[in-house]
Symmetry: D2
Subunit: 429 residues, 4 copies
């Protein structure tokens, strides 16, 4: 994580600072908007160790700016509350002690109001930094930008974590009112052929990127074919109907063990009801939409589904090669609203960005020549590079300005609470 | 649990009903008072499977009246919310399905306000029952009385559970403002001799009792001596200083295993600080009060301490024989305030009631001739009669009107989050 | 555990020593006889932490004599192997460190032959003690006697532990050849009335007893009725057929949780086959014998069964009062063979001894005035007096000379691998 | 796994069959040789779910030939014992049910003698196949060859599993007598530069290979440097001395969690004694040999060590590119003895084969175009391709004829009971 490696002289100009401040205001406001439909009680829940309370996300994203920007940037800096430095530190051992992650659900105090006050204080001091110490703001521009991308990651986690927490409530409450759904039937899946050759993947240096997307480097990609859209719910239903969850031959051995231990019979949030399937969504329970991309599947399920289709998951190099030409427009300095809804059904050809995180077959590993960022923010990515799989593309819960072709998301193979879906690839026969 | 077995003609009189209604109002109001210092976020926490969120206690105690009184008593009864019948059922399998206990901490909805509205609805309908269907109220008087005692049990659990939840917060927040403490030094422990003979224990039929206190029956109690007060913090400190937590010879084998697994070094809520001991209390952290009775010890610790003193814990028959003559005055129809504080230091001779629950060496078992109450409320006590130990006397968190000599509380030997303390007994040498 | 408290002048006479030596030889030989049908590989298995490998039992019983008799009794004692002092110490913390119990199954070395050589060495030195140091043998006579009773306990454990280990093998191998079974139909269950009154229970001082059987003391026993025989397999089948394992109302709450977690559907070792029930026994799998007493049930199952019969389990005082008059003849100084088979079907009225250990409703606790034996052997019993239930009577796997009316066996409520059965009691209606 | 893809006309000739039979005899004899120093009791131990009893390895390798060669190859095939088809099936769900892996340690029966008789029966029938049905032997030649490589894998597991089992015994028994150790000091670590370019890795089709080594394919390897020898014990000691096990900054996050949970302070089998380090080996405990390669480290430790050295682990492509030119001579049809000892100290430049399995940073994944073998043996490799890391080179416990440059071993990142060591790589600065 961290910004582009070359000097950003422009960011030091007034215009650049103003633009950055505008981005700061928009991103911070959007986080509050996401929390708005929730009660203080919703915001304190931690439904599993992998997830965090919304209140904690609100505090932690503020802590990030306080720790990495305000503390080095403000002349007479004092922390808002000494205790928050521990409470809201996620995993930065270099920075100091941390409240244990599985204990975050015990934090009834500070109250939501107190955390919001903390946010306001950080915002005020950030404004002061921009207004009174522009040279410091310019010096720390990259860390500010990093903080905004960091906050966007937590925006998505707020949504996925609260969805998981609400799903644990037998009342199955909705996060928001129901909206119309497109329901357009997807076209037949087509395969895009990729000729073999040495490709370049990784971030090219324009605009923001995390350290794990760098350096851009060469990789040999063999001849293969990649599907032009995601697997839909109805296609996945055929897998279930064909005994997909009953046939160990289709599964990785470890995946089968998980399936048995967790008693998986369908994607997470699917509910068998009255002979059909419903789905728990941000809008409560509704009938399963057959044309939407299947989401909330683990790597194991994605892999088993692909095997059943006599296909496989793409590698991240294949994915980036195919998706690279379709780079989504926009970046967060401009606009980008977040409508946490369902992934779009029947998306136009491509559907590479903004519907579901797509499991790749690539284990999360450092790129050749990878160097973690300097200082505490160097803990951002590198130390998680083991036993996780890369997901690409961005989901319907990802802020639009946070999406780019070189982005590497990563989760353990058993994770299902993200909007994770399936794109197929195959070798030419 | 359930009221006295003989007919209660008087309860059918208007005066008796008025008195019962008054009691209902007092007890219900007191529950709200206990929750008053807490935020909605405090009220949603479940810090361990043994404990429940305050909000759940508020709902469950209302559910009890709705299910066992309003439903059979009101002509055109309809449940307030169908879903609450499952959400707020604790363990009554006869009544229907239950929300799993360890999941109670996931209930951000219904909100605290909604649960309070539920309480109000129950209260209104209870008033309607008394006002418009007095004959039904009279018929159900015993169940109403049971419901009040049930609610008092949950009043105590509200306090012990919220104390536990707050203790998990690194901010160690206080439940209430600090009050003065007596600090009077206790007198030397004296031993009251009990000659052998056949005694009668169990409830004698006057006033309310739970089914597990009945029937009153004969038991042979051998010659023994019982201490006239509880063990104090300073006395317990001497045990620690003498290596009490390092010497397996002093412990039950299973207790030692627990001690090692849980890394117990002192009672729950004791905090080693600056070379001394502090204690987490309802008032936050304060210095350990040497003269207060030691509390928050497990059965294993109580037993080890007694062995170290060349003594033992009393049986419940010994306890009741000695305490019986000191029966506390008052019953809940009259008054009884609840000051959740610390147990009293240096109590006058006796100290049998209202300071700490006193571990006895008696496994929780049915009295000879025990019969569980009829119907669903028969699940109240009997099905828990295995692998638990009886505690007697009532603690500083027990409503005063809830305390009586025949009362049998019970917890597993490892439980420490109750105000559980130690009274010694010994055999004549 | 330990012998009678009064002086045993006779044991010091030559005749008494000869008698003791004879007993020693018989008991030690019998242990080897029990291990004879087993291969070295059988003897190394540990199928669960509660059980121990046969080889370990062989070593530990020898360690007991070496540690508590030879070391204090032989002038120039040296341990056979220094390492065995740790390996074969069970739980005597006073004696020194112990190899962790769940690790006993890792002891491929010492080999079975080496352990048998260790036994021989202990036997030779015991003979030397009797022959050359009779005054020491006389001084230690009580510990020798204790060692023999200790070894008899382990004889039973050898059988129950190896049965459990063999049951884990899908080949379900037999420990011994099939023998004929009596198959006599039991008579109708009759109830023996017990009038109320103060009774005396506990060991009366004649012959050997463990410390936990003492002191003999008074206890009040109310009017009740006790069944004159054990519950049979066919009677238990009726409970299963009536949904006994499906109705939580019949169970203790904790028992039901166990049932669900362990998926109990029948007693341990019962196998549903071809529409009927078979049973794994020392003779391999055979059809369930309807007239034999049901065995291998937990306390929870025994309790649920009794509740289903509108009865209850007897207390240990009730049991001893009824069984006391039927005291079995014989003691180990005389004879007593051990035929590990099945419990007898259709036993004559009584059936109190030698068929199945009978669960009582009494939690295992010290008798009033209990004092643990002096020294390390004081760890024998007392430190296990929590969360266990007393079983009485002795099973078909108990050496006949080891059985007596005051004997208190004890196991946790979930234990099923002992020959534990059910006797009913009830209160007069 | 499975042999070379092109037709093997020569294998059908008499000479080829004779050669194959000779190989069969040598490999099978070597397995028995490895078990020779062990007692029946040693052979029944299972010290953890990851390991298997030696007896099971002996049975399973025979089951492999019986199932995949004798059954399809012998005219009137009947299984040796029906029960063995389940007992000795490891993980081939296509073949039928399997005895659960963690239960293998409960198999006292069949006895070691019975398993050896099973082996003899398989060997006799294999000879009969070669002698009387050479056309069948020729048809199944590839599966026979596969069976031999499969057996060689289990030869190594016999050694690593028995080492682990013996290490759990406090007597720390030796597997074999002590031998001399070379003790030659290693030379300074040198770095071999690898220029960037497209490389080919994977098996080239000459001789045997497993399916996971195929197909040979192109991969881009960037400019890097690879160490010319393994990290030694003394070099690893410097890491420990520098607080390597105390500094979370050096570790992957998940590795640090493991380190804390497992309390790792040094490689497996290292024993802190008298102020220095000893090591449990096949020869019992001996002083740590400073010049030997460090072994028995997890992926996490290897990674942390590399980070401490400002280096990294090589990818498998880098490894194979560097090691490819140093391909070890010999194949199992010729000779190859197995001396389970320690890895060689101070090996000549290279040390790529036969000292320690070398962790690579590559997650175990299918090669582009990978196709699992047809039939049940297709379960051999592919289904394990998740959350494991590739190790290369072969250890001192690997049969010499089993080693080749394209061989891909794989274990979870936490595995330490294999002879796993560390080779460093680095990016040019």
């Amino acid at each position: 994580m961290q910004s582009s490696p070359k000097p950003r002289a422009d960011a030091q100009s007034t215009a650049a600072l103003e633009s950055l401040l505008g981005a700061y205001q928009r991103v911070r406001a959007q986080t509050l908007e996401l929390a708005a439909p929730l009660s203080p009680e919703d915001c304190v829940l931690q439904s599993m160790p992998d997830a965090s309370p919304v209140k904690w996300h609100l505090g932690h994203t503020s802590w990030f700016f306080e720790t990495f920007v305000l503390e080095p940037g403000l002349p007479r800096f004092a922390p808002y509350r000494e205790a928050y430095r521990v409470l809201f530190n996620s995993y930065y051992v270099t920075v100091g002690p941390r409240h244990p992650r599985p204990e975050r659900g015990m934090l009834s105090r500070p109250s939501l109001d107190e955390v919001l006050a903390y946010r306001s204080s950080v915002d005020e001091r950030m404004h002061a930094l921009f207004a009174r110490h522009p040279e410091q703001a310019a010096r720390l521009a990259e860390l500010i930008e990093l903080g905004l991308h960091h906050e966007q990651q937590h925006q998505e986690l707020i949504l996925t974590d609260v969805k998981h927490a609400l799903s644990r409530n037998p009342l199955l409450p909705a996060y928001q009112r129901a909206r119309g759904h497109s329901g357009r039937a997807p076209e037949t899946m087509r395969w895009e052929a990729l000729p073999d050759g040495v490709r370049r993947i990784g971030h090219d240096g324009e605009g923001f990127s995390f350290d794990n997307e760098r350096p851009r480097h060469r990789v040999f990609v063999g001849h293969c074919e990649v599907a032009d859209r995601l697997v839909t719910n109805s296609e996945y239903l055929a897998f279930i109907a064909d005994g997909g969850y009953r046939r160990p031959q289709l599964w990785l051995s470890e995946g089968w063990d998980q399936r048995e231990a967790q008693r998986w019979e369908a994607p997470l949030y699917w509910i068998a009801r009255d002979g059909g399937w419903s789905q728990f969504t941000f809008e409560g329970v509704r009938a399963l939409e057959p044309d939407e991309p299947v989401t909330h599947v683990s790597y194991y399920e994605a892999d088993a589904y692909a095997r059943w289709r006599a296909a496989r998951l793409p590698t991240e190099a294949e994915w980036e090669t195919v998706a690279g030409g379709r780079e989504p427009a926009g970046n967060f300095l401009e606009s980008g609203r977040l409508h946490p809804a369902a992934p779009s059904a029947g998306a136009a050809s491509g559907q590479f960005f903004g519907d579901a995180w797509e499991w790749t077959s690539s284990s999360y590993a450092p790129y050749p020549g990878f160097r973690a960022s300097e200082g505490a923010v160097g803990e951002y990515n590198g130390k998680f590079m083991v036993n996780q799989y890369v997901l690409r593309g961005g989901s319907c819960a990802t802020p639009a300005t946070h999406i780019r072709a070189s982005y590497r998301n990563f989760f353990p193979a058993a994770a299902r609470w993200q909007f994770s879906g399936i794109r197929l690839a195959r070798d030419p026969s």
